[in-house]
Symmetry: C2
């Protein structure tokens, strides 16, 4: 299993409730791909959202995000962590 950081752009104005709902939508189906979404951080002003996850591949992470209605713009494996 690998850790991934993915990035969503164009999320300007996202609210705390919307971030929470989007994260829950991921959690609800993540087991289908053996993925786990651990954390999420959002900057409503620039419209950037970062998600930290663990899973078997970037494709698996993307499949969950797509099915949940918010495809990621970038997904980077982050094998080094502090």
């Amino acid at each position: 299993m690998t850790k991934f950081m993915d990035v969503h752009h164009n999320m300007k104005g996202i609210t705390e409730d919307q971030l929470r709902a989007a994260h829950k939508a991921d959690l609800d189906i993540e087991k289908d791909e053996n993925v786990h979404f651990e954390r999420a951080w959002a900057d409503p002003k620039s419209g950037t959202v970062y998600c930290l996850s663990e899973g078997p591949s970037a494709d698996a992470v993307q499949r969950i995000h797509e099915r949940a209605g918010h495809k990621a713009d970038e997904i980077h494996p982050v094998p080094l962590t502090i």
Copy 2:
């Protein structure tokens, strides 16, 4: 205090030891700006490093990164966190 996610590009080939040394260089001086660097994630292949910090401003975060020898390419406040 605000949380910030900053991004460094052009860090291709970064090793675990180099990431740890860079993070320690931040920690050694972070108190000067009332900043705290909490986590860091690196993708040696694409050369991307993400740092999560807390501090009074993006400028304060950048001043520590600059003095430590690794200026960030982007710094986003991330007021929303899960």
